[in-house]
Subunit: 318 residues, 2 copies
C-alpha cells in the first residue's frame, strides 16, 4: 500500500470478462492499493459474485471498515452480476450518476453499478458500451472531438458540451486476435521459437499503408490474404506477419471510421487506453493525418470518481 | 467400384491441407472409385508423401497396374511434396499442361504435378491459387465472365477466350470459421445444445442485407459487432447468430468484389463449389443483382483430365 496523506475514499471496481480488478482510491483519485485476480465474470457463477468480491476486499475491510464500491464494465452486462439498463446517448456524467443502481451487500457495504451507454441511432442495431463511458468521462467531455478507445472491441465516440454524443464499435482487436492465433496466419508464424520482443514497426507501417491506400479498391477480406502472399513473395518474413496484420486491421478501422464521417485529415482525435495500444493507434492516427491527443492513463478511475462525486452531490450516493 | 464399360484412364489426386483424396477416373471423366483419408499435407512429414500415396493406391495398383497420376492443389505448395513454380495469368489449359512437373515413383509409376497460378497484377503482392485452376478449366474458359469459387479462401476469377485472365482471393471462409469458433460470437452460440440442422436463411438474408446496404457507410469491422448488438436488442436469437454472421461476411465479399470492379448488377457470374457453399453464394449473387450460372460439381476432375489430355497431345504426358 502506498503512503498517502489522504484516507481511502472508495473502491473502483473494474470487473471484466477475464479479470477482477479493484482499486482503493483517495479523494484525489490516487490509487492507494489494488487487487487483481483472474476471476473474470466468465469464470464466476452468478451466485458467487458477492463471495468473490467479499474475499478480495477482506484486507481493505479490516483496515478501513466498509467503503463505497463503484463498479463499471461487463459486470453490469447480461453475463455479469446484474444487468443494468443502458443510458441513451447523448448523455453526460450526471445522467450516468443518476442511473447508478445500488445494491446492499451482506457485509453491510454498498455497491453502485454505473450503467453502460447505448446509441440508438446506430444501424442495423443500437450500439452499446459498458465501462468505456467512465474512460470518456475521465478523458473529459467538454471539447468537441472524436475519442478513440482501442481494445478488443474498439470504440469511437464523439464527445462535446459535457456529453458523449454518439459512438460506434469496431471489433478490430478481436479480429486481430482470432486471426493471429487460429488462421493460416498462425501457421505462418508457427516456426518462430519465441514471441517477438517488440513490434516490428516497419511491418506494421506496411500493413497500415495497404489498408489506407486500398490500391485496386481492396477491402479487408482481400487485403487479409496479402499476409500470405507477402510471405510467399518474400516481402514479409514469418516474424513480420503479425505486425503486418496489426497494421492491416487497425488501418482498416481508421479507413472505415473515415468513410463513416468520424474524422477528416487534420482533425485532433482523443486516444485513451493502455500504453501499447495507444502507441499502435497513435501511429495509425498520424498516418491518417490526425493529431492524436492522449488521455490520462487512469481515465477510467478518474471517470468513476467524477461520476461518484456527482452521485453524492445530487443525493444519489452509494 | 462402379461397374463401367470404360477402363480406368488415370488417377486424379486432390491432396489438400486436411484431406487426401484420390479418384480413379475413366476416359470420360467418370469416377470409378475413390480413396479419401484424413492424411492432409499438414499431417504428413515431407519424407513420407510417397509412402502415403503408395499405400493409398495399393488396391488400384493390384487391379490395374500402374496408372498415371495427376495432382493439383496444396500438394504442390511450399508446405507440400514439391513446390512447383506458379504459371502467370493470363493462362489457359495448355500453359498449365506445359508446366506440369513429372516425378518418377519407386513403384514405377509417374506423378504429374499441375502447377498453380499467380496474378502479378494484384497489389500489394501477387495473388496465388493452387487447385482452383483445375476447377476453372473444368468450368470452361471460353465465355468471358467472372467465376466465383467459394471456400476457405474464396477466389474470384475473370475467364474468357480460353484463358484465366486475372483473379483475386478473399479469406471469407476463414474469417467466418475463426470468428464463429473463437470470438464473442462463439460465446453467444454456446448455449445451443446442438448445431443447427439447416441454415436459417432469414438470418442469413438479414446479414447479407446489412453488408449490401451498408447504411451509415459501415464496413466489416463495425458490422461484425452487430452480431452482438442484434442479440442484445432481441433481434437475433442465439441460434441465428451463425447464419447472420455468414450473411455479413459473404455479403461483404460481394460488396468488396463490386467495389473492385468484378461485376455490375445484371451480370452473369459462374459459381463452382460444394453444394452448401453454392447455395450460400447463389443467394448472395442474386441479392446483388447477379445471375448465377452453376458449374459442374466435378469441375476439378474435368479440369484435371482436360489438362492431362492436352499434356499428352503436346508430348508432355506423365
Amino acid at each position: 500500500m502506498n503512503a498517502s496523506s489522504h484516507p481511502p475514499r472508495c473502491v473502483v471496481l473494474d470487473w471484466g470478462t477475464t479479470t477482477f480488478r479493484a482499486l482503493l482510491v483517495d479523494a484525489n483519485g490516487s490509487v492507494l492499493d489494488r487487487v487483481e485476480t483472474p476471476e473474470g465474470i466468465q469464470s464466476v457463477p452468478k451466485a458467487e459474485f458477492e463471495t468473490v468480491l467479499s474475499r478480495n476486499m477482506a484486507a481493505w475491510r479490516i483496515a478501513h471498515r466498509v467503503l463505497p464500491i463503484y463498479a463499471a464494465g461487463m459486470i453490469t452486462s447480461r453475463n455479469g452480476w446484474i444487468e443494468t439498463p443502458y443510458v441513451e446517448a447523448p448523455a453526460g456524467a450526471e445522467a450516468l450518476a443518476r442511473a447508478i443502481r445500488r445494491m446492499e451487500l451482506a457485509d453491510g457495504g454498498v455497491i453502485g453499478f454505473i450503467p453502460g451507454l447505448t446509441d440508438k441511432g446506430v444501424q442495423p442495431f443500437p450500439d452499446v458500451m459498458r465501462g468505456e463511458e467512465t474512460q470518456l468521462v475521465g478523458f473529459g467531455l467538454d471539447h468537441e472531438m472524436a475519442v478513440v478507445l482501442p481494445g478488443t472491441h474498439s470504440k469511437w465516440a464523439r464527445v462535446g458540451g459535457g456529453r458523449i454524443l454518439r459512438f460506434r464499435t469496431f471489433v478490430t482487436g478481436e479480429v486481430f486476435s482470432v486471426l493471429s492465433r487460429h488462421s493460416f496466419i498462425a501457421q505462418l508464424a508457427k516456426p518462430l521459437a519465441e514471441p517477438q520482443p517488440a513490434p516490428n514497426w516497419s511491418a506494421f507501417a506496411l500493413g497500415l499503408d495497404a489498408a489506407r491506400e486500398r490500391t485496386q479498391a481492396s477491402g479487408l477480406l482481400s487485403l487479409l490474404f496479402s499476409v500470405r502472399t507477402g510471405w510467399l513473395a518474400g516481402n514479409l518474413g514469418a516474424a513480420e506477419t503479425s505486425d503486418y496484420l496489426s497494421g492491416l486491421v487497425v488501418g482498416t478501422e481508421f479507413h472505415e471510421a473515415r468513410e463513416m464521417g468520424w474524422f477528416e485529415a487534420g482533425d485532433r482525435v482523443g486516444l485513451v487506453g493502455g500504453e501499447h495500444l495507444v502507441e499502435v493507434y497513435g501511429r495509425a492516427a498520424t498516418a491518417f493525418g490526425l493529431e492524436p491527443q492522449l488521455g490520462p492513463s487512469d481515465a477510467a478511475v478518474r471517470g468513476s470518481i467524477a461520476i461518484a462525486e456527482i452521485a453524492e452531490r445530487i443525493g444519489h450516493a452509494v
